[in-house]
């Protein structure tokens, strides 16, 4: 069981259910605190976290703003942070907003809808489980990322953060809406896969050879620490910022990029991102060029502007933010139909909690 999911389950067991609220139900004057952790997944696997991080974050934020915190929000719904927000809302006894900062997961702390909507990234608070706290102020999202990353060494490789703090009345226009609802929906019904088959090559680029109904098809996947593009017959079928996820056909669990290896039976699926990411500003912050992908023709997406490949600022280097995959699917914004199903009968994976970076467990241990 992955840690963030276990942490959420334990918090719910100990403290009772978390109330999920819509932005309209929020007290307009109270603060909404986006939360998450940044750091190394190797550290998080050992230092699994405490119970007091959200308390330290909230206390410092209330002190800085002189306003009470009325609700929590996941900084990103994908990866471990989607589950962690549930655990921390339970710890604080506060409601969780049915929204998040990204509508998926991204590696950069500034790749948020709040950034696009002009919400100030700071004052922001970073702390560890022992309450050692850092306040960062007067910087942009990019600089926040830079400073938090620099603090990781001192914090021992992992830190809890809250940034882009808002008032209740700002949430409706400055976030990706409906994230929690969509995560739960995706956990019980996934879109049809783009291709179902096996990993035929994992060394340099990832090749997926179609099997069953997809026999004879071949897809290439571009990946860094997340899946960035699916290409078939020279044409991109799905491209970041739309969400690309790989699921283990046997277990239904998410396969992260570093877990891809020859022979795995997988389904590759794509879920549309929040339409805001297809706007020119959205693409500059989190489009293909921001991830170092150039020269890809546009992907026709339904219900959202045709994307272009603007010459964008340099890619965010490395991953200071989520240790989890961007591949944890979630879909936000106005419902748009998923990419057209190319396989009529492919497996859809077993129900699971979306947003948790589940390890592929297809190989059992011997007994």
């Amino acid at each position: 069981m992955m840690i963030a999911r276990a942490a959420a389950l334990q918090a719910l067991e100990d403290l009772g259910p978390v109330h999920v609220v819509q932005p309209a139900e929020l007290d307009p004057e109270l603060l909404v605190m986006p939360v998450g952790t940044a750091g190394s997944s190797a550290v998080m696997s050992e230092r699994i976290g405490g119970t007091e991080e959200p308390v330290h974050l909230r206390d410092k934020i209330e002190e800085l703003y002189g306003i009470r915190v009325g609700a929590l929000m996941a900084s990103e719904i994908g990866g471990a942070n989607g589950c962690l927000a549930v655990a921390w809302a339970a710890r604080l006894g506060l409601p969780l907003v049915d929204a998040d900062g990204m509508g998926r997961a991204f590696p950069g702390m500034d790749q948020t809808v709040m950034q696009l909507r002009g919400i100030a990234a700071t004052p922001a608070v970073a702390c560890d489980e022992r309450g050692r706290t850092l306040v960062i102020d007067h910087v942009t999202g990019r600089w926040l990322e830079r400073l938090v990353r620099a603090s990781l060494e001192a914090f021992g490789g992992q830190v809890a953060t809250s940034e882009y703090i808002m008032r209740g009345d700002q949430v409706a226009t400055a976030t990706s809406l409906g994230s929690v609802t969509r995560a739960v929906e995706l956990g019980t019904s996934l879109p049809a896969p783009l291709i179902t088959g096996k990993v035929a090559e994992a060394a340099n680029s990832i090749l997926i050879e179609g099997l069953g109904p997809d026999l004879g098809r071949l897809a290439r996947i571009e990946a860094e620490s997340e899946f960035l593009a699916v290409i078939e017959d020279g044409e991109p079928v799905a491209v970041v910022p739309d969400i690309i996820a790989m699921l283990d056909t046997h277990t239904g669990e998410v396969v992260q990029t570093e877990q891809v290896r020859y022979g795995l039976r997988v389904s590759v699926l794509s879920v549309p991102c929040d339409p805001v990411w297809h706007t020119p500003e959205g693409l500059r912050l989190a489009g293909p060029a921001a991830f170092g992908l150039t020269g890809l023709p546009a992907v026709p997406t339904q219900g959202s502007p045709t994307q272009s490949s603007p010459s964008a600022p340099a890619a965010p280097s490395g991953r200071a933010h989520s240790p989890g995959p961007s591949g944890s699917p979630c879909r936000t914004g106005t419902p748009t139909s998923p990419a057209p199903p190319t396989s009529p009968t492919g497996p859809t994976g077993s129900p699971r909690r979306s947003g948790s970076p589940l390890q592929s467990g297809e190989r059992e241990g011997a007994s």
Partner: protein
């Protein structure tokens, strides 16, 4: 002459080999339900009885003990982490009945480490003593897991001393001996190791008596999950090391019988086919960790895919392909009592007894792993050398002849995304049994 025995769920195989590892005889008897030692006795009794120098036995009993929740000791579970690891408590998410069978009580005390020296906090010695006192009378074994103990296991030893002072001579399993980074999986492995201590010492004792009766003077070993052997005393101290040993010796046997170092191995049993990979002469480990009795564990045990019988040939082909490093690169070796049911692949002579043969031919092994912070790259060779020495010592403790221990492999892997230079260094060593 040496003998190997493999106690399976249905049948028990035994094999007699000469000193050049040539197979002289194999026998198969029905296993005695729930009594691996009786099965060993029955199978060995059917072999010709020359003077044996060595007997190695694959028991498969540890896993059964966990999955059937039988013969498990009550374990006091101590985690040394303070606030840094409270988000998920010990044994959270375990199957209810297994937790009930195993847990005497759990506690999280202050202490534990971080990636660098400044981030270590002192062990709360009083809290350890209080927990131990509270466990007196209920706990039959203790599991100690310290935060970041794969970097430094000193506090685990410190806690063990306090517990021993309080509770006397109970088996105490320390997590740094058993796993790598990944606190929950390492802790789970440690708890199971402690829980199995009763089973292991009882089996070791009975096995020693039985084997001494059957072939006095023979050195006695049991198989372990990495495909090597260990002494009976070592089994009693570290029972978790025997998990996965059944499939591991089948893979070793398949390698020896075909002369292959790398292959995919299908072990065809009565109810199912287990498909595993042979890599460099030893079983390939589960890639993403393993699970025993419904619990994720950090043990290093062979990865396998099970195909139920009667089987669909397409399903078997897929399982074989999933264990290949690339399309059709490695040969398939088919062994086990039901090998005739699979037509493709190599069917080596004596493949029926691959598990017993694998036990007989395997060396005594040891391994050691540490996460090390390097001040700079030039510090790596010294760090590696220290780990290699520990692996060598570990093989000797398991019963290998110190004069002939050799290093099977050494890996250093840089850990990404960490502040500072960290490497995971792991070495495995093995040698012929010591005749002392």
């Amino acid at each position: 002459m040496k003998a190997g025995v493999d106690v399976g769920p249905t049948n028990t195989d035994a094999a007699l080999l000469d000193e050049h590892s040539r197979v002289l005889a194999t026998v198969k008897v029905a296993s005695t339900p729930d009594d691996p030692v009786a099965s060993v006795q029955a199978a060995l009794g059917r072999l010709p009885r020359p003077e044996l120098t060595q007997v190695a036995v694959g028991l498969r009993g540890a896993a059964t003990s966990v999955t059937k929740r039988r013969g498990l000791r009550k374990v006091a579970v101590l985690r040394i982490s303070g606030h840094s690891a409270r988000a998920v408590r010990p044994l959270f998410g375990w199957p209810q009945d297994l937790r009930a069978a195993v847990s005497a009580g759990t506690e999280i005390v202050d202490g534990g480490g971080g990636l660098d020296r400044e981030d270590w906090t002192p062990l709360d010695r009083d809290a350890v003593a209080r927990f131990a006192a509270r466990m007196a009378g209920t706990a039959q074994a203790v599991a100690v897991t310290g935060l970041f103990s794969p970097l430094d296991d000193e506090q685990e030893h410190e806690a063990a001393e306090i517990i021993r002072a309080e509770l006397g001579d109970l088996p105490i399993a320390l997590s740094a001996d058993l796993g790598s980074l990944g606190l929950l999986e390492r802790e789970n492995a440690t708890v199971l190791d402690a829980a199995l201590s009763g089973f292991a010492s009882a089996v070791a004792e009975r096995l020693a008596a039985t084997l001494t009766g059957l072939s006095p003077g023979a050195a006695m070993f049991v198989t372990r999950g990495d495909g090597t052997l260990m002494s009976l005393e070592h089994l009693a101290r570290h029972p978790g090391l025997s998990l996965g040993s059944g499939p591991a010796s089948v893979v070793r046997g398949a390698g020896v019988l075909t002369g292959l170092e790398d292959a995919v191995v299908a072990d065809v049993g009565a109810d199912r086919i287990s498909v595993l990979a042979l890599a460099g002469g030893f079983p390939e480990e589960a890639v993403d960790g393993a699970s025993i009795g419904g619990v994720s564990v950090g043990f290093r045990i062979p990865g396998l895919i099970r195909v139920p019988r009667p089987f669909d040939p397409a399903e078997l082909a897929e399982a074989v392909d999933r264990l290949q490093p690339g399309a059709g690169r490695l040969p398939l070796v088919v062994v086990g009592g039901g090998a005739h049911a699979v037509r493709e692949g190599l069917h080596p002579e004596h493949g029926l007894g691959a598990g017993a043969i694998g036990a007989a031919v395997s060396p005594v092994g040891g391994q050691y792993e540490r996460i090390i912070r390097l001040p700079d790259r030039s510090a790596l060779p010294a760090a590696v050398e220290a780990v290699v020495e520990e692996a060598r010592a570990s093989a000797v403790r398991a019963g290998a002849d110190p004069r002939h221990v050799r290093i099977l492999d050494v890996h250093d892997t840089r850990l990404a995304y960490l502040p500072g230079q960290f490497v995971r260094v792991r070495a495995r060593a093995a040698g012929p049994p010591s005749r002392l």
